[in-house]
Symmetry: C2
Subunit: 215 residues, 2 copies
């Protein structure tokens, strides 16, 4: 599909948000999208957490000090930011704005709060997709990764997943992930359809002008 | 794709509008959609024009007298209506509203004015797709169906097509139809993606309630 006319017209990129509770397949579907679609890439966050072996500055994260991070927050340089388990993360705005103009699509694997922050700043550029597990039993099964998990640990995971699910109505599309390939196919359909939106097909303005010239 | 989970949840239907200037493939793409997709059907209009051989009441049109038609207009029973070459046409509202609740999708092969009328009444149910010809030369070629067409006839058709094209920015999606199968694939992607919108997946409310029950 990458070679027909619409993709050769210039296009504004989009911000594709995938959220789900832990255990509903967000990470798997994200990886499939990045592997199979040449036009989307992960947004690179700034973080205060230490670099891990194998990670690359600017590819995995922009590694910054707490002082640098706080400065970026103070100067409103992040589209969304959050602190998780003592480490801080933020999405640099300039990178995204420049990319969108150049037709780059960005994937965001974030929770409902990050989604809300993105949407407030970039409304018409954001496409929000939420994945649901097929059932409560299946969610519990997926969250019980080891036979050694205590009942308390599992209950805490379930409570956290249900808390995330409770925000399902803040998304444009909600899919039930009961089969990973079928779910991927639907996510990809949504991505491709959203790329066709008139408001993103910036090249149409010149194209239509040419169709409208006096015959 | 018709058998996976999302389509078994109850869903509100949608109104899928295809518009294009004459010669941009609206009729062909409409026919392909009706043949290949089991969940969409043509909206059936009421009309004052006489029944033609082979036409069936209630399948092709609801055939009505001018007096009946005028009464329906006066009682606001049409979602959109227009008079073309002395014959009047209208889309009965009750049929559409009942169908949408039952999950029926409707296809509308109408011009920009009908699209505006539909959108004003049914905003969130309407998905508007506009097809463009690949170039002005190709449009002229497609509108020159017979070698015997006079220059005036062709010029009038071109003017009418360009007038329709000038309303391209009143649509949600605008596609360039330079290859009928590629264009169909994109139209179908849009239809499938729009079906997944949270606001149309009415069955999600019960589904999520079940996921949220105390574990």
């Amino acid at each position: 599909m990458a070679d027909d006319t619409n993709l050769t017209l210039s296009r504004r990129g989009l911000m594709f948000v995938l959220s789900s509770p832990s255990g509903a397949g967000k990470t798997t579907i994200s990886r499939m999208l990045l592997e199979r679609d040449a036009h989307i890439r992960m947004s690179v966050s700034a973080t205060t957490r230490p670099m891990r072996p194998g990670e690359v500055e600017g590819r995995d994260y922009f590694f910054v000090s707490q002082e640098q991070y706080d400065g970026k927050v103070a100067r409103c340089e992040f589209l969304e930011y959050a602190t998780v388990f003592g480490n801080s993360y933020g999405t640099p705005e300039a990178q995204i704005r420049d990319g969108l103009v150049a037709g780059q699509d960005f994937l965001f694997d974030i929770d409902w709060q990050g989604t809300q922050q993105l949407y407030q700043k970039m409304e018409s550029d954001v496409v929000r997709v939420f994945l649901l597990p097929p059932s409560l039993d299946e969610l519990r099964r997926r969250l019980t990764t080891r036979g050694t998990d205590s009942a308390e640990v599992i209950a805490a995971r379930m409570a956290r997943a249900q808390s995330e699910i409770s925000h399902w109505d803040g998304y444009d599309y909600v899919l039930v992930n009961d089969d990973v390939e079928a779910c991927y196919a639907r996510v990809f359909q949504i991505l491709e359809a959203e790329r066709q939106r008139r408001a993103r097909q910036t090249g149409l303005i010149d194209f239509v002008r040419d169709l409208m010239r006096p015959d």
